[in-house]
């Protein structure tokens, strides 16, 4: 009888150990499946360009940015168009003339 009880206890203990081990094993698997390792985002591959300091260009800079010289020319054209519009207003001061539209890309 004592031997039987001893055997029963050993069996229960073994089952408990096996259940704990199984639980631990399955818990770590589920955690691994939730927390996927984060991979670094692939950087946009830009074609190599000569005479361009890539380190000075911010990552968010649009690749289709116009050169500074073109931008300065656009500013000059904008100022000239605005002056012409202002001259028209001064020649004939009306509200319509004051707020007349130009073809400048800065205002369209």
């Amino acid at each position: 009888m004592e031997m039987l009880l001893m055997g029963l206890c050993m069996a229960l203990f073994g089952t408990a150990v096996a259940a704990a081990a199984f639980g631990a094993a399955t818990r770590s698997e589920s955690r691994d499946s939730v927390e996927q390792p984060t991979l670094p985002l692939a950087k946009a591959v830009t074609p190599p360009r000569f005479f361009l300091d890539n380190t000075a260009t911010p990552a968010s800079t649009p690749s289709r940015q116009v050169p500074v010289e073109v931008l300065l020319q656009q500013i000059e054209n904008h100022v000239r168009m605005e002056q012409a519009a202002a001259e028209s207003f001064l020649a004939l001061p009306t509200q319509a003339q004051l707020h007349s539209k130009t073809n400048s890309p800065f205002v369209n």
Partner: protein, 154 residues
């Protein structure tokens, strides 16, 4: 060539005024004066064009941005007659060599004292030049303000 600053002045008086000055050739791309320089001479454009610019930050770089252009017959640098006698723009010969007559302030003021009638007419002409610039830029400023208001209230 008719100079806007000498409108209504007799040819003899205009000749006397021009004799006060010195002819200067400004090579293309060279500055006649720069923003903040002491302004002790007024310039009359005889040939070429003088581009007036102001510094502006463009993509983090300071660039001279076009403000206005002065053609033959027009005056440049009237800061020479208005305190605190500092240029408020940069003037550069655009594209081609320019030729100007540089009139020293001191000589000009002495002439006005000695010839008040001519001085009066020249001062009125200067007021027209200054007034036109004021009206022009006031209008341009208001147009920009209107656009700013439209953008922010949209």
């Amino acid at each position: 060539m008719e100079q806007e600053l000498l409108n209504g002045v007799s040819s003899a008086e205009a000749g006397q005024v021009l004799e006060l000055g010195t002819r200067m050739v400004v090579p293309a791309g060279t500055s006649l004066f720069r923003l903040g320089d002491p302004a002790d001479r007024l310039f009359l454009v005889e040939r070429g064009r003088i581009k007036l610019t102001l510094p502006m930050s463009v993509r983090g770089r300071e660039e001279d941005v076009f403000v206005e252009e002065r053609a033959p017959g027009q005056a440049v640098g009237w800061s020479a007659l208005i305190p605190p006698y500092r240029f408020t723009l940069t003037a550069t010969a655009a594209l081609y060599d320019a030729q100007v007559i540089a009139l020293p302030r001191e000589a000009l003021l002495k002439y006005f004292v000695a010839n008040p009638a001519a001085g009066y007419k020249i001062a009125l002409n200067l007021a027209v030049v200054v007034g036109h610039r004021l009206q022009l830029f006031q209008t341009m400023w208001l147009r920009e303000m209107q656009r700013t208001v439209e953008t922010h209230s949209a």
